[in-house]
C-alpha cells in the first residue's frame, strides 16, 4: 500500500497547497464578497480599497466575479473530468481486461475518438446543441458545457488505462481469481481497479485540467455557458469589453492567473503520481545524484589523504 502513495516532496506540497487555496477561495469568498452581477459600482475602477481587484466595464466587482467564476470553473472541471473518467474506465478497462473482439471494437471507437480533432468537434457539437430549441435553458448551461467536454475528452485516458489493464490481466493473482470462479465484474472491481488507483487518479486530474482549459477556450470563442459565471466567461467579457486595448489589466490578468495556477497545481500533483506509476522517473535522477555524491566523497577522501 505504501508504494501506491506518492512520495511527499516539495513539488507535491506546492501542488496540493495551490489547489487547496484555490478551492477554499472559490468556496468561501463568494459568501463574503458582494453580488458579482451588481453593477452599482463605478466602471473600470483600478484596484484599490473597497474594490481590491477593481471593477469591470459594467461596474461588476472583479474580486467577486473571480471567486464565483473560480467556483463555476471548478464545477465544470470536476464534472467534465468525472464524465470523461467514467467513459475512459468503461472503454479502457473493459477492452484491456476482456480482450478479443470486445477489445477490437472498443479500441476502434476509442481510436476514432482520439484522432478526430477535439476543439473543432466540441465547437461543432456546441453550435448544434446550443441552438437546439428543445433543450431550453439547459442548452447553454455550464452543465451542458461540462458534458460536451467530458464526452469528447476521454479517449486518451482510455488508451492509458487499457494498456495497464492488459498487463494486469496476465498477473497470477488475477488468474487465481478467475480459476476460483469469480465473475468478470468482481475481478475488475476487486483485483484490477485497486491496483490502478494512482493511474486513475492521474487520469481524473488530467481530465479536470483538460475540462477547465477547454471551458476557458470555448467561452473565449463565445461558446461558453451563458447563465453562470466562469473564469472563461470572465475572459470573454474582458475580450469583448476591450480590456486589452484600454489597458484594464486587472480585468483579464486575474482569471488567467487562477486558471494557470490551478492547472500548474494539479499538474504538480500529477508529477508525484507519475513517479508512482513509473518508478524509473524517480529512481534514475536519485541514482545519478547518489553516484555523484559518492564520487565527490571519494575525491574529498583522496584530497585529505
Amino acid at each position: 500500500m505504501r508504494e501506491l502513495m506518492p512520495r511527499w516532496d516539495g513539488k507535491l506540497a506546492i501542488g496540493v497547497a495551490t489547489v487547496a487555496l484555490i478551492t477554499v477561495f472559490a468556496l468561501v469568498v463568494p459568501l463574503l464578497a458582494q453580488d458579482p452581477r451588481s453593477s452599482a459600482n463605478p466602471a473600470l475602477l483600478p484596484p484599490g480599497p473597497g474594490h481590491w481587484l477593481g471593477t469591470t466595464k459594467l461596474g461588476n466587482d472583479v474580486l467577486a466575479q473571480l471567486a464565483v467564476g473560480t467556483r463555476g470553473s471548478l464545477f465544470v472541471g470536476v464534472l467534465g473530468g468525472l464524465v470523461s473518467l467514467v467513459l475512459a474506465l468503461f472503454f479502457g478497462i473493459l477492452a484491456g481486461y476482456i480482450g478479443g473482439v470486445v477489445d477490437e471494437v472498443l479500441m476502434l471507437l476509442t481510436n476514432i475518438n482520439l484522432v478526430i480533432p477535439g476543439l473543432p468537434l466540441v465547437m461543432v457539437i456546441a453550435a448544434y446543441v446550443q441552438n437546439a430549441p428543445g433543450l431550453g435553458s439547459l442548452a447553454r448551461s455550464s452543465l451542458m458545457v461540462a458534458l460536451v467536454l467530458g464526452v469528447t475528452g476521454w479517449a486518451g485516458s482510455a488508451v492509458v488505462l487499457r494498456a495497464q489493464a492488459r498487463s494486469l490481466r496476465t498477473r497470477e493473482y488475477v488468474a487465481a481469481a478467475r480459476v476460483a470462479g469469480e465473475g468478470t465484474l468482481r475481478i475488475i472491481c476487486v483485483e484490477i481497479l485497486p491496483n490502478l488507483v494512482p493511474l486513475i487518479a492521474a487520469q481524473l486530474i488530467y481530465g479536470v485540467i483538460f475540462t477547465v482549459l477547454g471551458e476557458a477556450g470555448l467561452s473565449y470563442l463565445g461558446l461558453g455557458p451563458t447563465g453562470s459565471i466562469t473564469l472563461g466567461t470572465m475572459l470573454n467579457d474582458a475580450q469583448t469589453g476591450q480590456a486589452v486595448g484600454t489597458g484594464a489589466w486587472w480585468w483579464f490578468v486575474p482569471p488567467g492567473t487562477i486558471i494557470a495556477a490551478l492547472g500548474a497545481g494539479l499538474s504538480l500533483v500529477n508529477f508525484a503520481l507519475d513517479e508512482v506509476v513509473d518508478p524509473r522517473l524517480r529512481q534514475a535522477p536519485q541514482a545519478v545524484r547518489r553516484q555523484r555524491r559518492s564520487r565527490a566523497a571519494i575525491t574529498r577522501e583522496e584530497a585529505s589523504a
Binding site: V115, P133, G256
Partner: protein, 334 residues
C-alpha cells in the same frame, strides 16, 4: 503487410465515421439547421428567392424538411461530397464553402506549420539535454514547463499582445497582412511578403511558447527512461565519448515517441490554429470556423470541420506508415 492493411482499414473506417458524424449531428439533434440556413441565405441575398439548386444543396448537407428517408439522404450527402460540393456560405453569401476554405488554407498552413516545426526542434534538443543532465538543477525546469503548459493559450497571447503590440508597438496587433497597404488583397510582391512575415511573428512566438514545454517534458522523460537501458550502460562501459552516447544511443531512441507525436501535431496544424487566429484575427481556416459557428453558418462549419478532420487523419495515416519503418517493433507487436 498485415500491419499496413490493418492501419489502412482503420483509417478508412475512421474517415467513414467522421463523415457520417458530420451527416448525423445536424439530423439527430433537436432543431432544424437546414431551415435556419435557408432563412439566413434568403436574408443574405436581400430577400430574393433562392434558386432550387441552392436549396437542394443545403438540404443535401443539413437535412431536408421531411419525407425522404435517412438512408436516401445519406446517399445524396455522399454524392455531393464526392463531387466536392460543400454548399454555400450564408455569412459570405454567395461564396462557395470550398473556395473560402481554399483561400484560407495557405495562411494557416504556413503560420502554424512553421511554428510547430520550430517548437518541436527546440523542445527535442532542449529535452534531450535536460534528460541527459538528470539529477542536476536542470530538473527544476520540469515544473517550470508545467506552469507554461497550464497557462491558457489565448490568455498568454492576450497578455503578449497587450505588452508587446499595444504598449511597446513592436508588432502589428491584428490581421495576416496590412490591409491598408494592400486593399486589393494578397499579391505576389516582396512588400506583401514582408508585411505578411511581420504579422506572423507574434502569433508564431505565442504558439511556440505554449507548445514547447510539452515536447521538452516528453523528450526529457523518455531520455531519463532510455538512459537506464542496458545498451546505454554498455555503450558507456565500452568507453564511448559521452557526446556519442548521448546523441547516437540515448537521444536517438528516446526521440521515437516524440516523432510520432510530431506527426500528429502536424496533422493538427490546420485544427490547432482556431484560438490563435481568433486572438490575432488571422485570415486562416480557424477564423473561418469561428465565423461559421458564431454566424450559425452550418454549411461552412461542416465544411471546415470536414477539412480539418481529413487533414488530421491523413497526417496520422502517413505517420503510422512511417513509424512502422522507423520502429519495426510496432509492426510485429501491433
Amino acid at each position: 503487410m498485415a500491419f499496413y492493411l490493418r492501419r489502412t482499414a482503420f483509417y478508412a473506417v475512421t474517415v467513414w465515421a467522421a463523415v457520417s458524424l458530420n451527416f448525423l449531428l445536424p439530423r439527430l439533434l433537436p432543431g432544424d439547421p437546414a431551415a435556419i440556413m435557408i432563412g439566413k441565405l434568403r436574408r443574405a441575398s436581400g430577400g430574393r428567392p433562392l434558386s432550387p439548386e441552392v436549396i437542394a444543396s443545403i438540404n443535401a448537407v443539413l437535412g431536408p424538411p421531411k419525407g425522404t428517408s435517412l438512408w436516401e439522404q445519406y446517399l445524396i450527402y455522399w454524392g455531393r461530397l464526392l463531387h466536392g460540393d460543400l454548399g454555400i456560405s450564408s455569412t459570405r453569401y454567395p461564396a462557395r464553402v470550398v473556395d473560402l476554405i481554399a483561400a484560407a488554407l495557405p495562411w494557416t498552413v504556413v503560420l502554424v506549420g512553421t511554428a510547430t516545426v520550430l517548437s518541436f526542434v527546440l523542445g527535442i534538443v532542449a529535452g534531450a539535454w535536460v534528460g541527459w543532465r538528470r539529477g542536476t538543477w536542470l530538473d527544476h525546469l520540469v515544473p517550470v514547463t508545467t506552469v507554461l503548459q497550464s497557462i491558457p493559450y489565448f490568455w498568454l497571447a492576450l497578455v503578449l499582445v497587450a505588452v508587446l503590440a499595444v504598449q511597446l508597438g513592436m508588432f502589428p496587433i491584428v490581421g495576416g497582412y496590412d490591409v491598408f497597404d494592400f486593399p486589393a488583397g494578397p499579391e505576389a510582391s516582396w512588400a506583401f511578403l514582408v508585411s505578411a512575415f511581420t504579422h506572423a511573428i507574434l502569433p508564431a512566438v505565442t504558439i511556440v511558447i505554449s507548445s514547447v514545454g510539452g515536447w521538452l517534458l516528453g523528450m526529457r522523460n523518455m531520455m531519463v527512461a532510455t538512459m537506464s537501458e542496458d545498451y546505454v550502460v554498455t555503450a558507456q562501459a565500452k568507453g564511448l565519448r559521452p557526446s556519442r552516447v548521448r546523441s547516437r544511443y540515448a537521444a536517438r531512441n528516446a526521440a521515437i515517441p516524440s516523432l510520432a507525436g510530431f506527426g500528429i501535431a502536424l496533422g493538427f496544424v490546420v485544427a490547432g490554429s482556431i484560438v490563435t487566429e481568433q486572438v490575432f484575427s488571422y485570415p486562416g481556416v480557424g477564423r473561418l470556423m469561428i465565423q461559421a459557428v458564431s454566424g450559425l453558418d452550418y454549411s461552412l462549419m461542416q465544411g471546415v470541420f470536414l477539412v480539418i478532420t481529413l487533414t488530421v487523419l491523413a497526417a496520422n495515416f502517413v505517420m503510422d506508415l512511417l513509424y512502422g519503418l522507423i520502429d519495426p517493433r510496432v509492426r510485429t507487436h501491433a
